[in-house]
Symmetry: none
Subunit: 132 residues, 4 copies
DNA sequence: GTGGTCTAGACCACG
DNA sequence: GTGGTCTAGACCACC
């Protein structure tokens, strides 16, 4: 967890878990580490983990069973929400603007996108599931 | 300026100016509106505009000449900074992760990227140069 | 038993038994399954069943005869406790508030209430008496 | 705020605000008391108020403008989400079951519902807007 | 053991 | 002044 990256810790946690699910490291039905355990592992406060878990639950990505734990719940929806798409396009536009200022060409950009989809973006270690 | 988008107003200003430059609405050497004028146009606090100008100057995109005004200074660098690229790839990865959860496929994604580069994303009015 | 509904399992058990009594599936004097048997059927911990039985007994709805078992004891009281009524009206108010935010009109609401009373809400199988 | 009602304080806050909007005490565009002020008024911790505000924002009922405050944002949607409706019917069923055990008849129940809709349920004081 | 709630108090970015 | 984030530590209900 990068304290000074500017991004909230709980968002970083959310991203890490989402990524692990996309990579297949976490599968539907798998149990996530308990709030306390995750907090210990990631060196953050349990409240911070709880906040991340709750936000993910609100997004329908995980589910919590009181007294039992938290579990991966999601399967990707096939249809795209239009309002979300507008927001996303705005974000993409800003990112591409930045990329252009960095000197990235359209070709290089397309290559980076393809790389992400193709290569499982670099086979990362299981941050959030079993062994750290 | 979208007050409730969650993004800081000064970043939105920065993005708008950067976009105008990419679109050719603002050219190298052009004079930007004064801080006060821009503030009035965009209905924000002058401090907010000043902050945006200062940040853009730090990025080498605009330049202030004391007593004369603020001018577009940049031309895109041809080579890519490696450290910046790493940060960028991280941001891209997060964006693509979100896109996947939204239900966007790789094809659709590539199409969106191509669209941004191709279409000047829809010929917008000069937000930050002439009139609002 | 819906593990992820957020409601405590023992409350769900209580509700199920109460409903069965209202529907006539369980009649006054009928014997309920033993704690162990119910636990096995509903795939919950025996402690959970015991807690539900105890709470129902406290409400005067069932009775335990030591060494013999647990029996349906209740008949509906004709008069309404005023303190209970206040609490109930509060709960109703909250439910109707939520309903309004969901977009339900008064007419639709009245229809839903009538439906519940009229239809025995769909003739369900005996969840908690005979076989599961 | 009733500490021992069993319901979380932040949910009680949410309900109070929703009710005030339905009653017209809070109108679209109105500013809510700041987190700190509301906390002081209701004698709860600012974090608790923040939690309530954030949950309401997630439901689209209020909106926050960073550094400016929190505002009423919503207008009721005309169409009813089917999944929500199922959950609601379940809650209604449980409430009506309890009502029956209390001795409430269908007629009395319909009267209570009509009363809530008709009478603005008793013209309450502005809990959450101007003066307390 | 699990997650949920609440408090107290700190620091920060934004306007 | 506003809300957002994070920590530390407490208590609770549920299983």
């Amino acid at each position: 967890m990068n304290q000074k990256s500017g991004r909230p810790l709980y968002e970083q946690l959310m991203y890490g878990i989402k990524e692990d699910i996309l990579l297949g490291i976490l599968q539907v039905g798998d149990k996530l580490p308990s709030v306390r355990e995750m907090a210990q592992r990631q060196l953050v406060n349990p409240n911070t983990v709880a906040k991340a878990y709750k936000a993910l639950e609100a997004q329908g990505i995980i589910e919590t069973v009181l007294g039992r734990g938290t579990f991966v719940a999601m399967q990707l929806s096939g249809d795209v929400d239009d309002r979300q798409l507008q927001i996303f396009k705005q974000q993409l536009s800003e990112l591409l603007t930045e990329a252009t200022y960095m000197g990235l060409t359209e070709q290089k950009m397309q290559a980076l996108v393809a790389e992400w989809y193709g290569g499982n973006h670099g086979i990362k270690s299981k941050q959030f599931s079993e062994n750290d």
